[in-house]
């Protein structure tokens, strides 16, 4: 069914294209939001990616690869938007998040703040790697295929991004421990 929709959309059927992406929009939006950490920017990036998908759909040789191709477009567009945002703003952008405080198994407000800070310090492509691996659950080879880079490069960049996050969390934890020590 999807293959038929892809082929119809490739012949210029706009309704088929909209039907095709309608069932994928929520998942792609969630992906874009994880990379960009902002609803408006995620919507902008996803819109741009979907318009590009329409524009370039005839270049997709294998309709069965539509999902992988669309994912790639969305991720690249998010990286592009994030890179532009980094050039525009020097300051870190911390999103207020409500949440439970307390146990070791749950994210505290401080956890979220530290994760947000650490994440914002990463480059856009490192953020995309973390999201694809830890949110989407993609194995390294799939990420390599999606982003068009060798698996070894994915592995090393992911390793670096994870270490950067760990370092950010550890640094904040050291500050908290020192600051919280009883006199």
């Amino acid at each position: 069914m999807d293959r038929q929709l892809v082929e119809s959309a490739q012949r210029g059927d706009k309704a088929a294209f909209v039907d095709l992406v309608r069932t994928r929009t929520d998942r792609l939006f969630a992906l874009a939001h994880r990379i960009l950490r902002d609803v408006d920017r995620a919507e902008d990036a996803l819109q741009d990616a979907l318009v590009i998908a329409w524009r370039d759909l005839r270049g997709l040789r294998d309709p069965d690869r539509f999902d992988a191709w669309l994912h790639r477009l969305v991720v690249h567009e998010c990286i592009d938007h994030a890179a532009r945002e980094r050039r525009r703003t020097a300051n870190l952008r911390i999103l207020p998040v409500e949440g439970p405080a307390g146990s070791d198994d749950m994210l505290t407000l401080a956890d979220r703040d530290e994760l947000e800070r650490g994440f914002q310090r990463l480059s856009p492509d490192q953020r995309a790697l973390l999201v694809l691996h830890y949110y989407e659950g993609y194995p390294l080879t799939a990420i390599a295929d999606l982003l068009g880079i060798p698996p070894g490069t994915v592995r090393s960049r992911l390793h670096y991004a994870r270490d950067a996050m760990r370092a950010a969390l550890d640094a904040d934890a050291r500050v908290a421990n020192v600051g919280g020590r009883p006199a």
Binding site: T25, R27, L46, W54, R58, R61, A68, D111, D125, G148
Partner: protein, 293 residues
Amino acid sequence: MSPERDTERLLRQWLDEGPTRAADRLLDNVEGRIDRQRQRPAWRLSWKNVFMNRTIGSFAAGMAVVAVALIGFTVLAGQNKDGAGIGGPTEPSAHVAVTPSPTPTAADPSEAPPADRGLTVSFTGSLPDGWGQDGDTFSKSEITVEVLEDRSVMSAIPDCINGPASGVGKSASEFVEALATREGLEVTGPEAVQVGGLSGQVLEIHISDGWTDTCPWSNEGDTFVPLFGTFDEKNYWLYSGVVGEERTRLYVLDKPDGGNVVVAAWAPNAAEWAANEADITSIVEGIQIDLGS
């Protein structure tokens, strides 16, 4: 947060939070935008590697600065020579075609950067049965003839850099020489040719027997050899390559400004090529290229 807590688990938990539904207006906006967006023809158009592109983009930007500096130096040298000031008489431009803009301005067309210039393709012959024309592209099922401006030869296997080949200019002779000696290709030609009022060279290309290689970023799922590409308006590298059994004929034509026009004909295999070769030749012979006045 205690340092020993599992970073990966926290990361997963944190990423799982957040919205998972897109607003309805998003798809409405997309529908509105695609109403105004024409689909690009089905040529080998694929997305560049963002990571590499940024490096290449920086290099290209650096080269552009050098080019601007050289042009500025040349202009200033010319002014000193003939005494004309800025805005004074200048040599007539070889062509000043500017891609039509939705917001026309009264700016001097000669100020437009080369990358923004366009060309007009017209067809003076009669299209063979089954063929259609959409702008600069002629097609019949999977057979395509397209007219492209200012393409650069692409980096070869095994480098597989998703960008232009280093040290290869855009002139027809440099272009075809680079492809004629490219590993993985079986090439016929090049031969001198004239198309639409421009001179250049033509060559026919398909992948060599026994070639099994591809580029790691290629999503074509088959044997592949990169041919040429260009950076689009958003600095994405768009490439064309030959895949599997495909046959292509490239007419690489020199523009007076040092750029090129590539008329590329594609067929999915040798049989389709043979069956449509006469049509392709006839179409190319009817193409007229207007670089502007």
